[in-house]
Symmetry: C2
Subunit: 414 residues, 2 copies
């Protein structure tokens, strides 16, 4: 029974019923007028507020003092990119950046080539679809392979696909398909290779319950050999009713995969709904709970689940409420920014359902990988941050997930 | 078993054991050097980083555009206050502000009287002790009573005490004690009166388990009549083993109490440890879980509890991870800031264990009191925010919890 109804009942039962009823009517008349929050008819979600102004990116370097006494300066390394999604560092000062609307871009010696790199397979774009992640094969130095994820046209729709190719300096060549998701599965995939040379591929959850369905690829992290076949030691190989490519289950939408340099564990981050973004340490065969267990609310308001955690489901190692729309993750192992060595960096597309609040987050752990604190960085730039990666120069490269996107670089301040 | 040990075991058991062992040694040698995080010998907690610079308060009004298209301007209404903790609005443009180090200050027509208000009872100060909350009696207009909480000297220590008095324009007079906590309980108390004229008093948790102990006042919200006696309808009256003054149990450190203007429910907020700050809607006799159930980690790192929630313990209506060190809360019912009418405002002493990140948060709910979104405000001022209250003019008054403290006022921007 609602609190108001319970209160009204008490009034009628009490000796002082009438005066109290009069008071109740008075309060009701003066109850704070709830804001008329517009909801989208299409999604059922509240329409996002749009009052914050996004400043233009600075022309020159911006200096910051940070909490950890790590002076930094941030430069715009490259701009004029459309929804940059991922970045790969090649020899000879060559950098490749994916643009979600279906283009691969190359930066040579700091100069962005105005023309996209030829050789990409046919890609379906629009909305969240297109070209997504790009990573080097562990033996890139000998085989030159780059792996990338994109939406391959398929009938009326598309399929999430992982392909590999080589960059010959001008074009993408020797392109072949490695893995394609089941029909109709068109989410954006993050990729990573572990220290054993196994390939991990994330699949978004799509329809809510599929993340728990062991016969669906949705809402899973898959583990494959570098040729797209299933390794014999996958946790569910040979188990009836389980797709053998599944490594972990119960994920909502994964926007980062990264391997811990010390332990070799695969770390992942995923977006909760309204609250409940997570970093998870992946254990083979484990279930991360979505949609049964979540730390967040649904967008229209009610809690996603009655409990925040439950036996049998893995808790995150780090989580955020409110959400930061986490995207991208890197373990910083360089020494150019010495106060940050050993810390984890995550991109934030926004903070708490408010557009114009993107930033970078730095997380400090103790020796047992238990979080001690988190720091917001670059908040004043108000850029949606899609990815954060460490470059071979030991600096941090940051992609803004904007239509007028950029690569920012975090350098030591002095 | 730790991930590293598990991995080493796998190496020895595998066919490729030796090369993998060599790799492991390589990785271990190159594992990211963990930052040497200093821990306080006294508390066992990590020493807080101190790298951020706090800018001086602005001289003139600062204008902001906000996410909700509510243009605001923020002015420094009064400054030169030492750790201001609470604020009460009296007729004739008189405002009283408590200073934690044991002084009551008066602002008349916007002018801060340099001399403290005489008449305060003897108060023990130092550290977190001193003078804390001040609120008007519901019938203030007829009886002139102000209720305040402070630490009354008691033997070698002090006791949290609630007293009342009147302000005669110059001094606090007719002061009498209303309630005193049990011996040795010296926490800071928030106070509020509900629509029935009952007085709620918060007590900090102190030693960890006492919040669950029904024979201790620690970690509780108490419900009393305005004369300090126990109302007959308190939830545990007559129950053996339960102190009758207890309204709710299982709270860590409460820094806000406020009554929802529509429902009449008492809302509370409390600081989690490292993560897990909460807003709770108080139900009589309910248990809010501390320290058995918490959403946060302990300061040295390990999770406070294995589960984030459990049957029999109340979940918060809003929570924060990372912590914002929530302090103060108000329901905005005015119309001077029309886009914010119906929203809840909370003060944040800091964000995520980083000094210099205090701010104000605005929370938007739907008609069912389910949170839709949160917005950070005034973040660039970097002030620890201790309290947020609506003034009789429908503007928002904000106290900075600083040694060089101020009262800020949020006004419409245009």
């Amino acid at each position: 029974m609602s609190n108001v109804r319970r209160f009204v009942r008490r009034i009628f039962r009490s000796v002082a019923g009438l005066p109290l009823l009069v008071s109740l009517l008075f309060w009701a008349a003066n109850a704070p007028a709830q804001q008329d929050v517009p909801f989208s008819e299409r999604t059922g979600y509240p329409v996002a507020p749009q009052g914050l102004e996004i400043p233009p990116l600075p022309d020159g370097p911006v200096r910051y003092k940070t909490a950890e006494d790590q002076d930094i300066r941030v430069v715009v390394f490259a701009q004029g990119l459309t929804q940059p999604w991922s970045i790969a560092f090649l020899p000879d000062d060559v950098i490749l950046v994916t643009e979600r609307p279906g283009a691969l871009r190359v930066i040579r010696g700091g100069e962005l080539d105005p023309d996209p790199v030829p050789g990409l397979p046919d890609t379906q774009t629009g909305g969240l679809s297109g070209l997504h992640d790009i990573v080097r094969h562990p033996d890139f130095d000998t085989n030159g392979y780059l792996y990338f994820s994109y939406n391959r046209p398929d009938g009326d729709g598309n399929r999430m696909t992982v392909a590999r190719g080589r960059f010959d300096g001008e074009s993408l060549v020797d392109v072949s398909e490695v893995f394609s998701a089941a029909e109709g599965i068109g989410s954006a995939a993050r990729l990573t290779f572990d220290h054993d040379g196994m390939l991990y591929v994330s699949v978004g959850s799509g329809q809510a319950d599929a993340a728990q369905d062991p016969m669906s690829q949705r809402g899973k992290i898959l583990r494959l050999r570098d040729d797209g076949t299933v390794p014999d030691d996958n946790p569910f190989v040979g188990k009836a009713g389980y797709l053998p490519e599944i490594y972990t289950l119960g994920h909502r939408n994964t926007l980062a995969l990264a391997v811990h340099p010390g332990t070799g564990d695969v770390w992942q981050n995923e977006n909760g709904p309204n609250g409940g973004d997570e970093i998870n340490v992946l254990r083979p065969g484990a279930n991360y709970g979505w949609p049964i267990i979540s730390l967040g609310r649904t967008y229209p308001g009610p809690w996603q689940s009655r409990e925040f955690s439950r036996e049998g489901f893995e808790n995150p190692i780090v989580y955020w409420t409110p959400s930061i729309a986490a995207s991208g993750m890197t373990f910083y192992t360089g020494d150019a920014l010495p106060r940050w060595t050993g810390d984890v960096f995550v991109g934030a597309l926004r903070m708490g359902e408010i557009p114009g609040t993107g930033h970078v987050q730095r997380i400090l752990f103790n020796q047992d990988m238990e979080e001690l604190r988190r720091e917001m960085l670059l908040f004043d730039l108000r850029q949606r941050i899609r990815d954060v990666r460490q470059g071979p120069d030991g600096l941090l490269y940051v992609l803004t997930g904007e239509d007028d996107g950029a690569v920012l670089r975090i350098e030591p301040g002095s």
